[in-house]
């Protein structure tokens, strides 16, 4: 039986009156982490928007045990937490909650090291596709063509594919998620806690402030990313890929919405050209082709 709203805990893990921007996808995601893991979670949070949205000490807008840590350190800190809690016999889940910078860029070596060691850690990459906390600078997760404050004419390189890189680490569980599909994310988190070893979940998190759309549209934009096939929900258990139900229809190219419907809703793509759209379409087709192949056979 799939989860329903009735099954979810109603306790507040993100508290009203926090410092996040209106329409923030990160507080949405943090609520789902709380609903999925409850009080077992210990969050390790490197520098990023979540460092700030917690609000000011001695108060905090989040209700988790949290260790805020230096940017490039999170997965190593979580490795230490997991080791200690195992030795102490404490029922805890070490969770890294990191942005795209803390995951794919400055945090990458640390993430890769912890994954290769197969530490008993869940790493969640909350991906808003740029360095939002410092003012919308490009990251390796910024998509091709997107405006940022360091790519005024649009980013020239495609988004680095983190889920595939993490699958290549041979870890037991890799999944993608979207803040538009909370139940899917919560189920993936719960599955992750049942698996010993390193788990990686990449959460697509459209940011109204940085992507230039109205804060009411966070969920709609996230959903469009799925419906255009640009973001694909899947799980990879020990390398075997399964496309998740919400993405399954879009394996069929003809059922995908035109990418331009996603792009035109966001100010960061305001200078979108036909050439860019074709390039992104090519990227999506290639990615789907690869994922479908991987879903037929085990990687490695």
């Amino acid at each position: 039986m799939p989860l329903t709203i009735r099954d979810l805990p109603k306790e507040k893990y993100v508290l009203p009156g926090n410092a996040a921007c209106p329409g923030c996808p990160e507080t949405m995601g943090l609520r789902y982490v709380g609903m999925a893991l409850g009080h077992r979670a210990i969050l390790v949070i490197p520098a990023g928007c979540t460092s700030i949205l917690q609000g000011l000490m001695p108060g905090n807008g989040l209700s988790f045990p949290i260790i805020n840590v230096a940017f490039a350190s999170a997965d190593a800190v979580a490795s230490g937490v997991a080791a200690a809690k195992r030795l102490l016999g404490e029922d805890a889940v070490a969770v890294v909650w990191a942005g795209d910078g803390g995951t794919a860029d400055i945090g990458f070596a640390t993430l890769s090291g912890a994954a290769e060691r197969d530490e008993d850690v869940i790493h969640i990459c909350v991906d808003n596709e740029a360095y939002m906390n410092t003012g919308i600078q490009r990251s390796s997760q910024t998509p091709l063509g997107a405006w940022t404050t360091t790519t005024w004419r649009g980013k020239r390189e495609p988004k680095k594919n983190m889920p595939l890189i993490m699958i290549s680490h041979g870890i037991p569980y890799v999944a993608t998620a979207s803040i538009a599909y909370p139940i899917d994310f919560i189920e993936k988190l719960r599955k992750a806690t049942s698996i010993r070893g390193f788990k990686y979940i990449h959460l697509h998190a459209p940011c109204p402030t940085g992507w230039r759309f109205d804060p009411s549209e966070t969920v709609e934009i996230a959903r469009l990313a799925i419906e255009t096939g640009l973001w694909v929900l899947f799980e990879a258990e020990r390398g075997r890929v399964t496309i998740s139900p919400f993405s399954r229809p879009y394996a069929d190219r003809s059922r995908r919405k035109p990418i331009v419907e996603y792009l035109k809703r966001q100010g960061r793509f305001r200078e979108v050209t036909d050439e860019l759209v074709r390039e992104l379409e090519r990227e999506v087709d290639e990615y789907w082709g690869l994922l479908l192949k991987l879903s037929e056979q085990k990687v490695q």
Binding site: Q54, G55, P65, A84, L87
Partner: protein
């Protein structure tokens, strides 16, 4: 008690085992490697109940140790030179989170060019971070001080991490006879781990978000300083206790060799203090009454003990194995600033030597001491307070 012949690195490994450390994340770097190899061997053979985490960098080594310590267990790591510099961000983080732990620094020259021999630039570059910094003269002291550091750093009046410095190769790879205390003795000496807070599942306690009150944050910074100042008494007390248990009392923050009746004092830290002792004996045979004030801790800086020791002396000669480029040697800078307000009339000279592992031994110190005594007795002061010793 067992009497073994051990390298300095293996002394640290034994101290870590005896201190019942639970988690040791480490990344290899020459000349620290044999220490973590030994700890890994102890863990893999079941000789010690230690979880070793073979991390991918020094930054992660200290980060993982910090995570384990924050989560409530005793943690340790070790590094050297570039490894220490790569960790610096986490060095500050651990201290200002007030998480006690211990790290061994096998002191080594910083490149370029690549150089594996000892000098003190690596450890001395960390003196502003909030860590206790102990420096050992010999392998017995390496073993003893590592155990003591767990007790000192976990004292609720301190609650700060600490480093034990041992010179590359001179201590790290040189075998000396060492008394290794029994587990029962260490257990009676070292209580269960104490720390100001533990991050636990089910208890929403948050470390490190942005402060609302900058004055409160300023007080946190100052409290780190106060914790180190408190450590002065704790170090003395713990050393006395260790002395009663083992017969090895080191003098607390400083150790004096033939200081009492001396006219002139060498001041230094690390393995080469052994050479200073020989130089003192040599100089006394020529009629020059020298003594050595060995700095056992660079942080907290033992200003009170130093003031007592230099009182009534005709001159103080500080030997630094590092230089704060553009200023002077780090021990000299601390010493001069602390004694200035109390007795500015003591001539103090700083000789920087032994950089990049270039040898400076008892013969060099005797020569340096002789010319210092001559200058002070003839002119009453020093013409050049800072000199680089060019060797023979």
């Amino acid at each position: 008690m067992k009497r073994l012949t051990l390298t300095g690195n293996h002394c640290v490994a034994y101290a870590v085992k005896l201190s019942r450390v639970k988690v040791v994340p480490a990344y290899p770097i020459t000349p620290q490697t044999t220490m973590v190899e030994k700890i890994s061997e102890m863990a893999d053979s079941g000789e010690a109940d230690i979880q070793v985490i073979r991390v991918e960098s020094e930054h992660s080594a200290l980060a993982a140790a910090y995570g384990a310590a924050t989560a409530g267990v005793r943690a340790f790591t070790a590094t050297s030179s570039h490894g220490l510099l790569y960790m610096v961000e986490m060095v500050w983080w651990v201290a200002h989170a007030r998480i006690p732990m211990v790290m061994a620094i096998v002191t080594r020259t910083i490149g370029p060019p690549w150089n594996i021999w000892t000098d003190h630039h690596d450890i001395m570059s960390q003196r502003d971070t909030g860590w206790l910094i102990a420096m050992a003269e010999n392998n017995q002291e390496v073993l003893d001080e590592t155990i003591k550091l767990f007790k000192i750093t976990e004292d609720p009046d301190v609650s700060l991490p600490g480093m034990i410095g041992l010179d590359a190769f001179i201590l790290s790879h040189t075998v000396e006879p060492v008394e290794v205390p029994d587990q029962e003795l260490v257990d009676s000496f070292l209580p269960e781990r104490r720390q100001p807070y533990v991050i636990r599942s089910g208890d929403p306690l948050i470390m490190g978000n942005v402060p609302a009150d900058l004055l409160a944050n300023a007080k946190m910074r100052w409290d780190v300083h106060l914790g180190l100042k408190n450590a002065e008494d704790v170090i003395e007390k713990v050393d006395e206790e260790w002395g009663k248990l083992t017969g090895r009392y080191y003098g607390g923050l400083v150790e004096c060799y033939r200081c009492e009746d001396a006219d002139y004092l060498f001041v230094g830290a690390g393995a080469w203090v052994g050479d200073m002792r020989i130089a003192v004996d040599m100089l006394r045979e020529t009629g020059l009454r020298f003594g050595v004030l060995k700095l056992r801790y660079a942080r907290p800086f033992p200003s009170r003990r130093i003031l007592e020791a230099v009182s009534g002396k005709r001159g103080v000669l500080v030997l630094d194995r590092a230089v704060s480029a553009g200023s002077a040697g780090p021990i000299f800078l601390d010493l001069a600033s602390h004694i200035y307000s109390a007795r500015p009339s003591v001539p103090v000279k700083n000789v920087v030597a032994g950089l990049a592992g270039y040898e400076a031994n008892y013969e060099d110190f005797a020569r340096i001491g002789e010319s210092f005594a001559k200058e002070v007795s003839e002119s009453g002061w020093v013409s050049s307070p800072l000199e680089f010793y060019p060797g023979r």
